[in-house]
């Protein structure tokens, strides 16, 4: 890959944006927040965030907000992430590795079903249904 200039980057962005306007926007208003404290980093949060970006890119989902925060207080199940999808309960997933990150995009962000075996906080146990909350 040749070294890209800022001008080339700007052109690439403009091109992507016009493509985006033609498509139905999937993932709009969805948010993934990765816990990036010392505990998260030590457990592999960097790889997890990078995997989220990769998978979203593969699926051509451009509109999910991917942000980072400090430790969420669940150091024992790092890496932890919070997923916020409109119309679904906010969920904190723990013990998230690259494979789980992929599953979360496919199942939660796209499929609108909770990944129940990695949930560590919220929502309360009584609202997690057997069919994934659908």
């Amino acid at each position: 890959m040749a070294k890209m200039t800022l001008e080339e980057l700007r052109r690439l962005r403009d091109q992507k944006q016009s493509e985006l306007q033609k498509r139905d926007i999937e993932g709009k208003d969805s948010r993934i927040v990765v816990g990036m404290g010392t505990c998260g980093i030590a457990a592999g949060a960097k790889t997890v965030l990078d995997t989220f970006l990769q998978v979203l890119d593969e699926k051509k989902i451009e509109n999910v907000s991917v942000t980072q925060t400090g430790c969420m207080g669940l150091c024992y199940v790092e890496p932890t992430i919070e997923v916020i999808v409109p119309g679904m309960p906010d969920v904190i997933y723990g013990k998230v590795d690259a494979a789980t990150a992929r599953k979360i995009v496919e199942q939660h962000i796209i499929g609108k079903q909770l990944v129940t075996d990695h949930m560590f906080d919220r929502p309360a146990a009584d609202i997690i249904k057997k069919n994934g909350g659908k």
Binding site: M1, L6, R13, K46, L53, D57, E62, V64, V66
Partner: protein, 204 residues
């Protein structure tokens, strides 16, 4: 405990973002066998008392997590630098800012692997508390020298807010193209060289 050098960078630069800084600078300078890094901010700084205690893993100001008894970021880093005969220095003044200068001896057996600098730079640039933030990457070896600079203000001017997946993937493409350009000057050290396959060894 962190595995790669990039994990330490990620961890330590966040301290600067969280110290109410308006300007943060990360310098990553590489030679044949050394990685020299500087993290400089104009944040709130530390007084002499805190400066003395901050390398103690059992010291924390307790502000971020009220009940926590540890603060591991800087202790991890200084330990890792020490373990590979690198250097570590901390300068800080209240109201002026903090500078952390450290280096890894890449030729040392206990030096951590470099890791994924591109992913780390993208994550740091996208950090919500990073305002003015510049990464200066330079490399200078017998093979030649190269450099690039990533300026958050400049990049946001081109890409808009660095928050959505599409934008971050564009940013990653850009950062990767910059790092690829200097990668030609990397020198692989004997230490990290893989042994030749047995068939090759016999030929020799």
């Amino acid at each position: 405990m962190h595995i790669c050098i990039d994990d330490y960078l990620l961890d330590i630069v966040q301290n600067s973002f969280e110290a109410d800084s308006s300007q943060v600078e990360l310098i990553v300078d590489q030679t044949e066998d050394r990685l020299n890094c500087t993290v400089r901010d104009n944040g709130k700084g530390m007084d002499a008392e805190v400066r003395k205690r901050v390398l103690d893993p059992f010291y924390t100001d307790g502000k971020k997590h009220a009940k926590r008894k540890v603060g591991l970021g800087l202790p991890f880093l200084s330990q890792a630098c020490e373990a590979c005969e690198g250097t570590f220095a901390l300068h800080s003044e209240v109201g002026v800012g903090t500078t952390v200068e450290f280096s890894f001896n890449l030729a040392h057996l206990d030096a951590p692997p470099l890791g994924d600098l591109c992913a780390t730079f993208v994550i740091l640039l996208a950090h919500p508390l990073a305002k003015g933030f510049v990464i200066r990457r330079t490399i200078n070896t017998v093979k030649g020298s190269g450099s690039y600079q990533l300026d958050k203000v400049e990049l946001e001017d081109v890409l808009g807010n660095l928050t959505t997946s599409g934008t971050l993937n564009l940013l990653k493409e850009y950062v990767t193209s910059q790092e690829e350009d200097v990668r030609q000057y990397y020198v692989s050290l004997d230490l990290h060289k893989q042994k030749a396959p047995l068939s090759k060894q016999q030929e020799m």
